[in-house]
Amino acid sequence: LIRYIVDEWSFKLIEMDTKGVKKIKINTAVAKPIVEAMEKKQDHKNKVMSGEIKVKISKGDRFA
């Protein structure tokens, strides 16, 4: 079955097929600290988006 998601940035249907992308089975125990670090970043992102954390903005130079 090919499954789709609605892409949150374009509101278009995105096919979840990632054929051609190399898949690597990793050691869960070895990867645990890395996964936890990623989850911490994701958690921060979710809290900002939900309004739980307010990001401080101080406008500096133009970058791009």
Partner: protein
């Protein structure tokens, strides 16, 4: 590469950040602020990999719930990644959301963005790492002149397989 009229101006966020972090932001026509963050990605690699110590991890998110579809957002994000790589001469890794099943879809989305706008100036590769209970889709982008490019994901492979 990207028409600046189709994207937003991006500014440095001068709020208190750590030494190995860079943060930028832009404001959309709907007045939504998007944060674009780059932080040192050395936690993904073994300390022995010296060439990996200069890789940055990229994330972006709106400072509140998103509004309507806005094609300028995609272009602004790509423009910022390109600028960062050109300015700091370092590769950029993006890790897609591991908390939902949409991560693989976003990996594919990033791939289509890259194919559309890299114009031969950047290298790109992706992986899906699988544990017993989740998938971690990630990708890496570097300047076409980066001779260590093939080494980066191989280093993650070997570091994570234990």
């Amino acid at each position: 590469v990207i028409d600046l009229h189709d994207s937003y101006e991006v500014f440095v966020n001068e709020s208190d950040l750590k030494n190995d972090e860079f943060e930028y932001f832009f404001t959309t026509d709907s007045n939504i602020v998007y944060i674009l963050g780059f932080s040192n990605a050395s936690y993904l690699f073994r300390t022995e990999c010296l060439v990996c110590s200069n890789i940055f991890s990229f994330t972006f998110y709106p400072s509140e719930q998103k509004g309507q579809y806005d094609p300028k957002i995609k272009l602004t994000i790509i423009k910022t990644i390109h600028r960062f790589i050109e300015l700091y001469r370092c590769p950029v890794i993006y890790v897609c959301d591991t908390s939902s099943s949409g991560g693989r879809g976003r990996l594919r989305l990033f791939s289509s963005w890259f194919n559309e706008y890299s114009k031969g100036l950047f290298l790109h590769d992706q992986r899906i790492f699988e544990t017993d209970y989740q998938q971690i889709p990630l990708g890496i982008i570097a300047a076409v002149s980066d001779s260590n490019f093939n080494q980066y994901l191989n280093e993650i492979d070997s570091a994570w397989m234990g």
